[in-house]
Structure formats: structure tokens, C-alpha cells
């Protein structure tokens, strides 16, 4: 400290940024700055991601051989429940909205913060509280219901810490609701002068659609979990037929939340892809208006397709037919986005930086994930594939191939803005490739396993499935390396990377008009917007 004070007068004072606005723990834990809260979320969800990934690694290890030889069935059941609950509610749902959304949204709008900074901080604390409850449930003995908590198994039969886990998810749900509410109000109220709705970047549109789902769907999950509590603790018959309840009622309520939640887990990723494709091809996104409206269409239609999780559940046959039709329709706006991204590349000036590589990976994997979703919307194919590894592969292509690629792409794209520094470009490109290869090797064999009929949520399987399972486990270890690398080189870059200018990518968008890293209040002067988004100079 003393040396610093002596040297300090000789070097020019560092520009005031959000990072050096305070160095105490208190200055982080009590911050109202949306950028710092974004980083708090970044650490928190990375922590949960690591735990959930370790659970997945244990599962893939057990599945190397058909025999149950590594862990007990109960342990395995707890592992996949842990993996699902933590990945869905404590990583994927908060991932892009709470980290990149918190950090970038006010910057993109030309605002000094979100509409309710205190609520923003509260939502992080609530999230941590929910996470600690979930962790307690895991440490105390675990839960074996699967992340879907199907009744009457979860409400009457399961011996795990179901109530503690459900309470954790219940509490974390309020964090989702608060974040969604905050974003909706921010987008309505805090746009810079001249920033009309159709001048908003597509990332903002996707966050707006996501926030609508967060606010409208999450309460249904809360009600459902409360009803499980009523049945489990008070013996009120809601879901268990022995008590006069209806087990299918749970599935209707659960998927009424959880299907829209699937779109919470993909829409923000689509937003990131739109930003990076435009930036690295130097072009306005093709069909900007259609892509923007498609996000809202996905959010709206997403509420009407929950029954496609129940084609074999013994719901009405005609309900099945209607839900199948609606599920086909919800695929249309997603397909259109893929076409528009491809058309954006046409006559662009394409530079293969790491964020674009992730975006291209997203498009490829999401296309496969989306098309296999169409397979599953087709009634008799779903009857065949339901609850098999085909479904596992499908939703990992969407959520991991889509959302995690989008998340990593976004982290790399905005990393210079977040940290004020660059990462090592070639290391980043290679690790993006490793993620892509590892991902496909892990999950593509699972499509075939599902076709052959291997059920999900099993720790042992018929011997003929071994080859494909070994491939999948091998891929998982490559994927693991692909995830560890960014953790290492980004951490290194945060402290030692070369410093960058305010706009290293020459991108449009208000977030690039302020310093990297931004000052505490983002903009010395609120910018005035006079042009369309993505107004890159015409290419000769």
C-alpha cells in the first residue's frame, strides 16, 4: 500500500471504471450497478454449472459399461436429478439474461442502469438463497425425482429431500420474476432519445420476449410446487389418486411453465447470434422486423404447446392432435430465424472471430435440435421416441448446442466491454472448435440410442448399446476440456490480457460507444439515436 501511494502521483490516474469504483467485498455485495450484478451472476452460475457438469461426468462414467458398477442406482438417480435441476434453474434460465442481459441491456439502451437497481440486487440475493437451499437438499441426501418432479412419485413415494429442493426452485423463481419485470420496465422506460422499438438491437427484442415468459410462466411453477408441498406435507389430495388427486394435473401445470421455460433457454441465445452475425458480416440482419417479431411469436405460441410432452401420458387423443399441430406451428418462427441469419451472411464482409464461430456453431446445432423437435412434434414418432435418449439428444442440441454456444459466443463478444481486455484469439478459436466436436460426439450417438429404444434415466442398459455409449462418454470428456479452456484463458485475460479500445470489433450499438470497461454510470452524456440498428457502411 505504501509503495503504491508513493508511485501513484507519477503515473496518470486510471480512468474511473465500474471495476475500480470500489475494491472492497462490500462494494461488490452491496452494489447497485447492473454491471457488477451481472458479474456476481457470472460467478454464481459458473459455480452451479461446474457442480452440475461434474454430476454429468459421473453419469457418463457410469454409462461406459452396461453393468451398474460405479455407483448405486439411488446415487445415479440423485445425480441426474441434480444435473437437471441445477442446469435448468441455476444455469440455463439465468445464464444469458442475468449475466449478459444485466450487463449489456442498459448499455444497449443508452441507460445508466436498469429501471429498479435495488430489485436487481435483491433478485441476485434471492437467487443465491434458492441455490443454497438446492445445495442443502443435495448435500443432505439428494433428490431422485428427476428435474420434472412427476407426481405421485415426487409427492408421495420419493424418499429424498424433495421439499427442500422444490423450495429452492420456488425461491429462485422469484429471482426470475424480478429480473423479467426489471427488464420489461427498463426496455419500456429507459430507451435513449430516438431509440424507437424498431431501432432496438435484436438482443433487446429477445430479452423482451424472454422477460414476458419469465413474468407470466414462473408463477405457475411456484403454484405447482406449492401444491406438491400441500400434498407431501399436509396429505391434501391433489396429484395422488390414492388421495383422490389426478397425477396428470401435475404434468399439465408443470409443462405449462416448463415448455415456455424452454424458450427462456433459447431466445436469448438467438439474440446473441443476431448481434454477432450482424457485427462480423458487417451487415444489417436480414429481415430485421421478421426476426424481432419472431421472438414474440415464439414467446406467445410457446404457451400453447405444453401438451406435446404428454402424447403418451394418457391425455385425450384429440388434445394430442391439437398440441401436435401447435407444436409444428411454433417451429416456424424458429426456422425463419435460421434462414434470416444465413441470408445475412450473403454479400457480407465476414471475419472469423471467435464470437462468430460460436454463432455458426449455434446455427448448426440449433438447426439439428430444432428439426429433431419437429420429429418429436410428429405424433407416432414421439410415441416411439418419448422418454428415450432421442429426447435427451434433442434437448441438449437445443439447450447446450444452442444456448450454451450462444452464451459462450456472447461472453466472448462482449468480453472486451466487460473486462476492457482481449483474450488470446487463437486459443479461443481452437476451444470453440473443441466444444463443437466434443458436443457432437457426446450427443449425436444419443439420437441413435434413442431410435434403438434406450430409455432415459437408467444407470444400466442392454449390452448392444455399449459402443454408442462409449462414444458419447468419450465426447463428454472432450466437451469438458472445451469448457475448461475458456474458464482458464478468460480468467487470465481478465487480469493480464492486452487492453482494448472502446470498440474493438467496430460494431454498431450504443454499448460500444462508451469506454471499455464502462464507467460506473455508463455514459457521461446520454446518447441520442438517429439511425436504424446495424447501420454498417455499405460494402462496395
Amino acid at each position: 500500500m505504501i509503495t503504491e501511494e508513493i508511485i501513484a502521483p507519477r503515473v496518470p490516474a486510471p480512468a474511473p471504471t465500474y471495476l475500480n469504483a470500489g475494491h472492497t467485498l462490500r462494494s461488490w455485495l452491496c452494489t447497485l450497478d447492473h454491471k457488477r450484478i451481472g458479474l456476481l451472476y457470472l460467478f454464481t452460475i459458473t459455480f452451479f454449472f461446474v457442480i452440475a457438469a461434474v454430476a454429468a461426468a459421473l453419469m457418463r462414467w457410469e454409462l461406459l459399461t452396461p453393468q451398474p458398477d460405479l455407483v448405486t442406482p439411488d446415487f445415479y438417480n440423485r445425480m441426474f436429478t441434480l444435473h437437471g435441476v441445477l442446469m435448468v434453474w441455476f444455469f440455463l434460465i439465468p445464464s444469458i439474461p442475468t449475466v449478459l442481459g444485466n450487463f449489456i441491456l442498459p448499455l444497449m439502451l443508452g441507460a445508466r442502469d436498469v429501471a429498479f437497481p435495488r430489485l436487481n440486487l435483491a433478485s441476485w440475493y434471492i437467487f443465491v438463497a434458492g441455490g443454497l437451499m438446492a445445495l442443502y437438499a443435495i448435500v443432505a441426501g439428494g433428490v431422485d425425482t428427476g428435474w420434472t418432479f412427476y407426481t405421485p412419485y415426487s409427492s408421495t413415494y420419493s424418499n429424498g429431500y424433495v421439499m427442500m429442493m422444490a423450495a429452492g426452485v420456488f425461491v429462485a423463481g422469484f429471482s426470475s420474476i424480478f429480473t423479467g419485470l426489471n427488464f420489461i420496465v427498463t426496455i419500456h422506460q429507459l430507451r435513449a432519445p430516438g431509440l424507437t422499438w424498431f431501432r432496438l438491437p435484436l438482443f433487446v427484442w429477445s430479452l423482451y420476449a424472454t422477460s414476458l415468459i419469465l413474468v407470466l410462466a414462473t408463477p405457475v411453477l411456484a403454484i405447482t410446487l406449492l401444491l406438491i408441498g400441500l400434498e407431501r406435507l399436509c396429505g391434501v389430495g391433489v396429484f395422488d389418486p390414492k388421495l383422490g388427486g389426478d397425477p396428470l394435473l401435475f404434468q399439465h401445470l408443470f409443462w405449462f411453465y416448463s415448455h415456455p421455460a424452454v424458450y427462456i433457454m433459447i431466445l436469448p441465445g438467438m439474440g446473441v447470434v443476431s448481434e454477432t452475425i450482424a457485427c462480423f458480416s458487417r451487415k444489417r440482419v436480414f429481415g430485421y422486423h421478421v426476426v424481432a417479431i419472431a421472438s414474440l411469436a415464439i414467446a406467445a405460441l410457446g404457451f400453447l404447446v405444453w401438451g406435446h410432452h404428454m402424447f403418451v401420458s394418457s391425455q385425450s387423443v384429440y388434445a394430442g392432435v391439437v398440441f401436435s399441430l401447435l407444436s409444428f406451428l411454433v417451429s416456424v418462427p424458429s426456422a425463419i430465424k435460421v434462414f434470416n441469419w444465413t441470408a445475412t451472411l450473403h454479400r457480407g464482409s465476414i471475419s472469423f472471430d471467435t464470437p462468430l464461430l460460436y454463432a455458426l456453431g449455434f446455427i448448426g446445432l440449433f438447426t439439428i435440435g430444432g428439426l429433431t423437435g419437429v420429429f418429436l412434434a410428429t405424433l407416432p414418432v414421439d410415441v416411439r421416441m418419448h422418454d428415450t435418449y432421442f429426447v435427451i439428444a434433442h434437448f441438449h442440441y437445443v439447450m447446450v448446442g444452442g444456448m450454451v454456444m450462444g452464451y459462450l459466443g456472447g461472453i466472448h463478444y462482449w468480453w472486451p466491454k466487460i473486462s476492457g481486455r482481449l483474450y488470446h484469439e487463437w486459443t479461443a478459436r481452437v476451444s470453440a472448435l473443441i466444444v463443437f466436436i466434443g458436443f457432437n460426439l457426446t450427443f449425436f450417438p444419443q439420437f441413435i440410442l434413442g431410435y434403438l429404444g434406450m430409455p432415459r434415466r437408467v444407470h444400466m442398459y442392454a449390452p448392444e448399446f455399449q459402443t454408442l455409449n462409449v462414444l458419447s462418454s468419450a465426447g463428454a470428456s472432450i466437451l469438458g476440456i472445451g469448457y475448461i479452456l475458456p474458464l482458464v484463458y478468460l480468467t487470465w485475460s481478465f487480469f493480464h490480457g492486452p487492453k482494448v479500445s472502446s470498440n474493438p470489433w467496430d460494431a454498431t450499438g450504443l454499448e460500444w460507444q462508451t469506454d471499455s470497461p464502462p464507467p460506473e454510470h455508463n455514459f457521461a452524456q446520454i446518447p441520442v439515436v438517429t439511425a436504424e440498428p446495424y447501420n454498417y457502411p455499405p460494402l462496395a
Partner: protein, 343 residues
């Protein structure tokens, strides 16, 4: 139709073993081809654009002359129409999957943690193994005693969740003798992975021999009548009983007038509900005095009771739907040995 579309993705694999599988596989193949084409087109376009328009290339980049909305309208309509085609194709097969043919014979399946308890109409009982004849539609009447299970035979494209408190149906017609995996596909607790077994499809004559061999529990036939007395049903529901309760003779299949002026068809679900939840449909003109038997009678006993009620006062004896060996079977053939695939 199925002759035209009767092929399998892997014709040599044993995955193609029921009357539905060729139709499902044809649909699956069409989806694969359509997806493959779409992915191929996207891949070629993306690679072409990425290479041709890489930064620094000399490719000309004049502004587009065609209105954007024409592209948008084109691919919105194109994907919607394509998707609708697959929707109708799929819905057609699904509706057929839900309609068992009239000549299907019934097998009762009870799912319980962690076994499949299977009962044939002749009283034969199997656990985790189901023997069926080939080329004969089989209707499964299924219910769970505890949590939700799912009866899945991938080679038959067959899957149906088995739910507690509610009898559900599924049917199939196996086409190829052999032994096939039977799984529980819905997570049901600790030993979910071990709740698996096999379906043994036999040639009709082998099946007849299997039926004739081994022990058949003949008591099952009269079991329902005994239960009717044991659970006290007969105390009220016999003519001349001191308690006023509706007679059950000839009940099955009739329309029953209930309290609120409506009528309910006395099918199997009605019979089950009236035993376990008698307050649900109180017969018009009777007091709701019957105690509920929820959790008192096991699912196995319930099935016997329902069978007994169905046989009460039926106009003709219940049709013997059990398949028998074909009459044309040569008489001199010695009884075939039990198939090696049978456990």
C-alpha cells in the same frame, strides 16, 4: 399403403416387429430425408457465403434488388406447408394407434414398483415377460398400483404411460416371432432401470403349445365371485338384500342414470370408479351410502372383480377372445418344443 411404405430404416434389424413399425419408420425416414435436404441446403449456402464473402475477398457486394418481404413470405409459407404435411401424416397414424381392432384380445398389465405383472384371460400370470402370438392384435389394459410407469416396446413402436387410478389402453399386432425388449420408460424410483423384461412373440401354433403347457391357475376363473363375497359386495348388491342398492345384473355396457339427470355408460372405467370412488356417480334414486374401497382392494383383485361384474347376467357368455391354434394345423405334428427364446 403399407405395402408402398412398408420398409424399415434398418430392414435387417429386429426393430421392425409390429404392424405399426413400417408406417412409423416410413414417416421417420421421410422426416430424415426432408431434414437432410434442408440441412444440406443450409450447409451449402452457409459455406458458400462464408467463403465467398470472407473479409478481403474481391467478390462484388452490390445491394440486394429483390424486396426482403418476398423471401420472408416465401420461407414462412414453405415451412408452414411442409410442417402441416408431416402433421397430417403423423396424426393419421396416431389415431389408428389409439383404435384397437374389434378382434383384439385383452391382456391385463399392472405396473408396480418395480415389475410388470401381466395376466392373460385364461388366468395365466407372468412377471416382466409377455408371451403373445404373432399376427394377432393384442389389447393391453393397463393400470399402475403406485407411481406412473410407461410400458414401452421399441421394436413395436409402442409406448403408453401406465397411470395409477386410471385404466389405460394400448394395442399392437406383433408381426415377427422373436424376443423383444420391454422397458419401463417413465422414471419410477430406485430400481427403474431394472423394471425391464421382454415380449416373446411366437408363431400361433407355438403359442397354443405354450398355452397348453405349464400350470394355469384355474382358480382365477371363479376368483371374482369369491371376492364379491369377501369384500362384502354381495351383502347389498344381491336381490333380496335388506340394504337398498342397485342390482348389478346385466349392468355392463348399459347406460346408467345418475343423480344429476345424466347418463353414464357402464364401461370398465365406470365399474372401477364405482368401486373405488362410489360417490363419483351415484345411481339416480339411491342414497350414497356405499363405503369407498380406495386403497382397500388391490389392482389385481379389482381386475377380477370387474371381470366378474361384466359376466353377471350377460346375455350370452363373454366372447372367448383368446386366440386358439389354427384349425388347419396338421394333426400329426408333435407338440412343438418350447421356443428357445422363451425364458
Amino acid at each position: 399403403m403399407s405395402a408402398v411404405l412398408g420398409f424399415s430404416l434398418f430392414p435387417s434389424s429386429p426393430m421392425n416387429a409390429s404392424s405399426f413399425t413400417p408406417r412409423v419408420e416410413a414417416l421417420l425416414l421421410a422426416l430424415l430425408v426432408a431434414s437432410g435436404l434442408l440441412i444440406g441446403v443450409l450447409l451449402v449456402l452457409n459455406l458458400y457465403f462464408l467463403i465467398r464473402y470472407r473479409r478481403g475477398s474481391s467478390a462484388p457486394r452490390p445491394p440486394l434488388r429483390i424486396a426482403t418481404w418476398k423471401f420472408e413470405a416465401g420461407w414462412i409459407c414453405g415451412t408452414t406447408i411442409g410442417f402441416l404435411g408431416f402433421f397430417f401424416w403423423g396424426a393419421r397414424i396416431y389415431l389408428d394407434m389409439e383404435r384397437p381392432p374389434a378382434n383384439a384380445y385383452d391382456v391385463d398389465v399392472i405396473g408396480r414398483q418395480w415389475m410388470w405383472d401381466i395376466r392373460h384371460a385364461d388366468g395365466r400370470r407372468e412377471f416382466d415377460t409377455l408371451h403373445v402370438p404373432a399376427d394377432q392384435p393384442v389389447r393391453l389394459r393397463m393400470i399402475s398400483e403406485d407411481v406412473i410407469h410407461s410400458f414401452a416396446v421399441p421394436a413395436f413402436s409402442l409406448k403408453q404411460d401406465v397411470v395409477p387410478g386410471k385404466q389405460v389402453m394400448a394395442w399392437f399386432e406383433a408381426t415377427r416371432p422373436g424376443t423383444y425388449h420391454l422397458y419401463c420408460d417413465q422414471f419410477c424410483g430406485t430400481a427403474h432401470a431394472e423394471m425391464a423384461g421382454e415380449v416373446v412373440v411366437m408363431k400361433p401354433e407355438d403359442y397354443a403349445a405354450w398355452q397348453a403347457s405349464g400350470s394355469v391357475n384355474n382358480e382365477e376363473a371363479g376368483h371374482g365371485a369369491k371376492l364379491f363375497v369377501r369384500y362384502g359386495c354381495s351383502g347389498c348388491h344381491t336381490p333380496g338384500s335388506p340394504v337398498r342398492a342397485p342390482s348389478l345384473v346385466g349392468l355392463y355396457g348399459r347406460l346408467v342414470p345418475v343423480e344429476n339427470g345424466q347418463f353414464v355408460r357402464a364401461d370398465e372405467q365406470y365399474l372401477r370408479d364405482s368401486i373405488v370412488l362410489p360417490q363419483q356417480h351415484v345411481v339416480a334414486g339411491y342414497a350414497p351410502i356405499m363405503p369407498d374401497f380406495r386403497g382397500v382392494i388391490s389392482e389385481t383383485d379389482l381386475l377380477d372383480l370387474i371381470d366378474y361384474l361384466k359376466s353377471l347376467g350377460a346375455k350370452q357368455p363373454p366372447p372367448a377372445n383368446m386366440p386358439t391354434a389354427p384349425a388347419a394345423a396338421p394333426p400329426m405334428v408333435p407338440p412343438p418344443p418350447a421356443p428357445s427364446s422363451a425364458p
